[in-house]
């Protein structure tokens, strides 16, 4: 799955604040590093060499060393100034992060599951809310208020190009405010160890122009497309008569499972299995037949069904744009 991922290539104000603090802290630390190692280097160069037999110099036990004392006190004072500067910069950045205006913000609830992301778009009008999984679309230039929850263990939501991370903790609700200023696909990944497939609990945040976003959201609000040919219809029947619907939901059909990603508009998404595979027919088929091959330990069972049935199922799911 392609997607930009780097903490120091900010695509929004929050990540940009953090990146500026980073460069400040890095410069300060580099300065300290060079100064201290420089002093050590000079010390090692100038001190005469000795052996174990060299008589020790114990004069310091009986006489103070004002020169060394002054240097050490001076160095400690300078270090303290540097630390205070870093502290002030850190607190100031914290304030800046908290001040992102949430006027006109889009509310998105993200629920972490082992090992995928359940995404609900909020709306004042309940009929306009909708659900998707593992892929968030957001309009460029508009703030987003993420409400983060977990259905099982602790996860952590992290899109380095947009903001730092925030944990999803069972029994608690956390929030994260971010905004994208540049269009693009930004990769995110769970950052808190959450079990066997922690490594493949990724997602995409796709920032796009406001009208493109509106178009996408309108499409997502619609129920799933009806089958347009017998093959698709057969696929739907298989989906609804088999075990799929026990866990998955497809809006507009009786399938309303909540234990696995909502598949209403599966074909509109970029990836399968939380960023594990590119979303194409071959991968979809392989995934349905043997998910353990790609994500050992994943909760989805293998489905070994006859050739014609798997074909129909894939054809139907691929039609859900």
């Amino acid at each position: 799955m392609k997607g930009l991922i780097h903490a120091l290539e900010p695509a929004g104000p929050q990540a940009a604040h953090i990146a500026s603090l980073w460069w400040f802290a890095l410069a300060l630390c580099a300065l300290v590093f060079v100064a201290v190692l420089g002093a050590l280097f000079v010390a090692l160069r100038r001190a005469p060499r000795a052996t174990g037999g060299t008589p020790p110099d114990v004069t310091s036990l009986h006489a103070p060393e004002p020169g060394a004392r002054r240097s050490v006190i001076g160095a400690v004072a300078l270090s303290s100034v540097g630390l205070i500067a870093l502290l002030v910069a850190s607190v100031a950045t914290d304030r800046a992060l908290a001040q992102l205006s949430l006027v006109d913000a889009i509310g998105i609830e993200v629920v972490g599951h082992q090992w995928w992301w359940d995404v609900h778009y909020d709306d004042a009008d309940p009929s306009r809310t909708f659900s998707t999984a593992n892929e968030l679309h957001i309009p460029v230039g508009r703030p987003v208020l993420l409400t983060l929850k977990s259905d099982d263990v602790i996860h952590s939501f992290w899109v380095p190009n947009l903001h730092g991370k925030k944990d999803l903790i069972p029994g608690r609700t956390t929030t994260l405010q971010l905004q994208a200023d540049k269009p693009g696909a930004y990769r995110g990944q769970c950052a808190e160890f959450c079990g066997a497939q922690h490594a493949f609990m990724a997602f995409l945040v796709i920032a796009e122009a406001p009208d493109a976003y509106q178009k996408w959201a309108e499409a997502q609000r619609k129920p799933a497309r009806e089958p347009i040919d017998p093959e698709q219809a057969r696929g739907r029947d298989l989906f609804l008569s088999g075990s799929c619907m026990l866990c998955h939901a497809i809006q507009g059909t009786p399938a309303n499972g909540r234990k696995a990603p909502d598949l209403t508009h599966l074909a509109s998404r970029t990836t399968l299995a939380a960023g594990r595979l590119a979303n194409d027919a071959g991968n979809l088929r392989d995934w349905i037949e043997d998910p353990q091959r790609f994500k050992p330990g994943v909760n989805m069972p293998a489905h070994h069904v006859p050739e014609d049935q798997i074909k129909a199922l894939v054809t139907y799911l691929r039609s859900l744009e």
Partner: protein
């Protein structure tokens, strides 16, 4: 002082007393009195601090090597994207066991082990204060370690990380017994860690040679005193937490179950209230090694001794006030986080003080450049870098980006390997001659050092970049499209270099133990008391207990009295002194060898392991422990009579 001392010693017939000028017969008898018994039984009964210290160090080193091999396995798996070498189930066990072993079975115990061996020698006494308890602590540590690796061998080792966060480690998401083994390992290491700490504090407070006031105490002993107190204050938190976890898992309590009113964050507070100080009680003994070795190889006392001691104590205090910086990504209120940022910055100051004092020492010293000093000098480069990235992690906004990424993996290895392992290797090169009587090979030592130093930086420096590029920790693999492949491969190459360097170290130890150059009492011309006795030290450590007049006793002219004489040679007597001024206080009868600590440790092990499978084991398992403990403490008529006789002599 000598007058008051002479009047308090017991006046036995001359040939029954110790002393530097004592008769050969007395010296021989003293040696017999303090020797361990021969054979396997003697090995099990051993209570001498040198016997226990040596086996403690060797055991900890074995765990270091095994955990290091686990790290090599992880590096091989991560060397290229989408690698199928190790699956997620095994990988998660491996990284958990690597972290758990390094933290609980290597880093903390090895420092205590070094102290068990060195402290009584450095403070001029004949054994630690509570040697049987220390023996029990060692056996508990060994059995706990054997338990967890047995669990690994039968595919039952924990797989939730060394931090074992519920609910992932709780009953609902971690079925089977894996997490229970983890929680019980913590119990084993807590028992051992607390016991050894109590022993060290008692030894340091009560058994220092007459005249070794607190102000004259060697800096390593200071570091271990501070460490031992920290362990006593920090360990109960994780003890409580791991007990609550195992109760959640075994008897259905809900301490960490949000659905039943518990709270997963409670675990994090308790765990890190222990976990952060833990980093510092690994680091502070390293600072102690630094001060000892720098003084010797700069041929002068460490500059700013009082500042050094106060810095150790300040570090210990501050370390209890920064646990929340492991939890910045949770929903803790912002103002609270700012406080912990300030603390995280402040703790840098005492470390800075020490670094500047050491540089001043080197600046004004004359340098004897040998392998131990090389390892010490590496500290400045590595620890400094790790400390600076620590400041970055302490700042909330930066932490939100790099927390739980490979940036942290880089940071913690820079701090722990730079701050503790490099000084520890330096310490091994430095004290090996004392322990074995032979020098370690200098040529192999340099190879060992340079391979380790370069390999370390090649392995861990790239991880900073990987973290910023978005690579989270604890992933068993990653896709090629992330672009993390090349730096991971480089890191694996560095890991291989470290493995080779540790192998060279082992070769050097094995070779030098047999064929090394004989060391003599004081090969480095050092100042502290352990170098005043033979190498290896006799069973009684010192034929006569030295009297200390200076903070660098072997570097200053001798003053009279030079030693204390008059302790019994046929009984394990040591001198107990006052806490602050080390004025002779009384004679203390040190316990003799006994198998009961070993038997009690076996009984405790049975109870701990059985309680993983049934809570009732806590009930019936206590009975054998009680029996073993009663037998252990039961007064023996012969010994009591002998002590009474010694006590009654004028």
């Amino acid at each position: 002082m000598s007058a008051t001392w002479d009047s308090t010693v017991n006046h036995q017939p001359l040939d029954r007393r110790d002393g530097a000028t004592g008769a050969t017969a007395a010296t021989d008898e003293l040696e017999r009195t303090w020797s361990e018994r021969p054979g396997l039984a003697g090995w099990i009964c051993a209570v001498g601090h040198k016997s226990i210290g040596k086996r403690f160090i060797v055991t900890a080193f074995c765990f270091f090597v095994v955990a290091g091999l686990l790290a090599v396995a992880m590096r091989l798996q991560l060397a290229r994207p989408d690698s199928k070498l190790i699956g997620p189930d095994l990988y998660n066990q491996i990284f958990t066991l690597h972290g758990t072993t390094m933290m609980f079975l290597f880093a903390v115990p090895v420092m205590q082990a070094m102290a068990v061996y060195l402290v009584p020698l450095m403070i001029g006494t004949r054994n630690s204060a509570l040697p049987r308890m220390t023996a029990y602590g060692y056996w508990m540590y060994l059995f706990g370690g054997l338990m967890i690796f047995t669990a690994f061998a039968i595919d039952m080792s924990p797989d939730n990380g060394w931090f074992s966060y519920p609910p992932l480690a709780g009953p609902e998401y971690s079925s089977g017994k894996r997490s229970d083994f983890w929680a019980q390992l913590i119990t084993f290491t807590e028992v051992s860690g607390l016991i050894v700490s109590v022993d060290l504090i008692t030894t340091i407070f009560k058994l220092r040679a007459p005249g070794m006031t607190l102000a004259r105490m060697p800096l390593f002993v200071w570091a271990m005193l501070v460490t031992a107190f920290m362990i006593i204050f920090a360990m109960p938190a994780v003890m409580l937490a791991s007990t609550m976890l195992i109760m959640d898992r075994l008897v259905g309590t809900h301490f960490f179950n949000a659905a039943a009113g518990g709270d997963p964050l409670l675990w994090q507070h308790l765990f890190w209230f222990f976990g952060h100080p833990e980093v510092y009680f690994i680091f502070i003994p390293g600072l102690g090694f630094m001060s000892m070795i720098i003084a010797t190889f700069a041929r002068r006392p460490v500059f700013g001794r009082a500042a050094m001691v106060l810095s150790l104590i300040a570090t210990a205090f501050f370390s209890f006030g920064l646990w929340v910086h492991h939890m910045f990504a949770t929903n803790i209120p912002e103002v609270g986080k700012a406080f912990f940022t300030a603390m995280s910055m402040m703790i840098a100051i005492p470390t800075a003080v020490q670094i500047f004092c050491w540089i001043a020492t080197l600046w004004k010293g004359r340098l004897h450049l040998r392998t131990p000093l090389y390892f010490i000098l590496a500290f400045f480069f590595i620890l400094l870098l790790g400390g600076l990235t620590g400041l970055i992690l302490g700042a909330v906004p930066l932490d939100l980006q790099v927390h739980d990424t490979y940036f942290v993996v880089a940071h913690l290895h820079y701090v722990l390997i730079g701050g503790a392992v490099f000084p520890l290797f330096g310490a091994w090169y430095y004290w090996f001659p004392k322990i074995t009587g032979r020098m370690m090979g200098e040529r192999l030592g340099r190879w060992n050092f340079w391979l380790f130093f370069i390999g370390f930086n090649v392995a861990f420096y790239p991880m900073h970049h990987l973290g910023l590029a978005g690579m989270p920790r604890r992933v068993y693999t990653y896709g090629a499209e992330t672009g993390w492949g090349p730096l991971n491969l480089l890191s694996t190459v560095g890991g291989a270099m470290i493995a080779v360097s540790v192998l060279l170290f082992i070769v050097n130890v094995v070779k030098s133990r047999r064929h090394g150059e004989p060391a003599g009492d004081n090969p480095w011309g050092a100042a502290s008391l352990e170098w005043a006795t033979a190498s290896p030290p006799p069973a009684c450590n010192f034929r006569a207990i030295p009297v200390v007049w200076s903070e660098e006793p072997l570097w200053e002219p001798l003053r009279r009295p030079t030693h204390v004489s008059g302790l019994a040679v046929d009984s394990r007597e040591v001198v107990s002194t006052t806490v602050l001024d080390a004025q002779p206080d009384h004679r203390y009868h040190s316990p003799s060898p006994t198998p009961w600590p070993f038997i009690a440790a076996i009984a405790t092990t049975v109870m701990f392991i059985a309680s993983i499978f049934t809570p009732w084991a806590v009930v019936w398992g206590s009975i054998p422990i009680m029996i073993a403990m009663i037998a252990w403490f039961w007064p023996r008529a012969g010994e009591t009579r002998k002590q009474l006789v010694l006590e009654k002599r004028p």
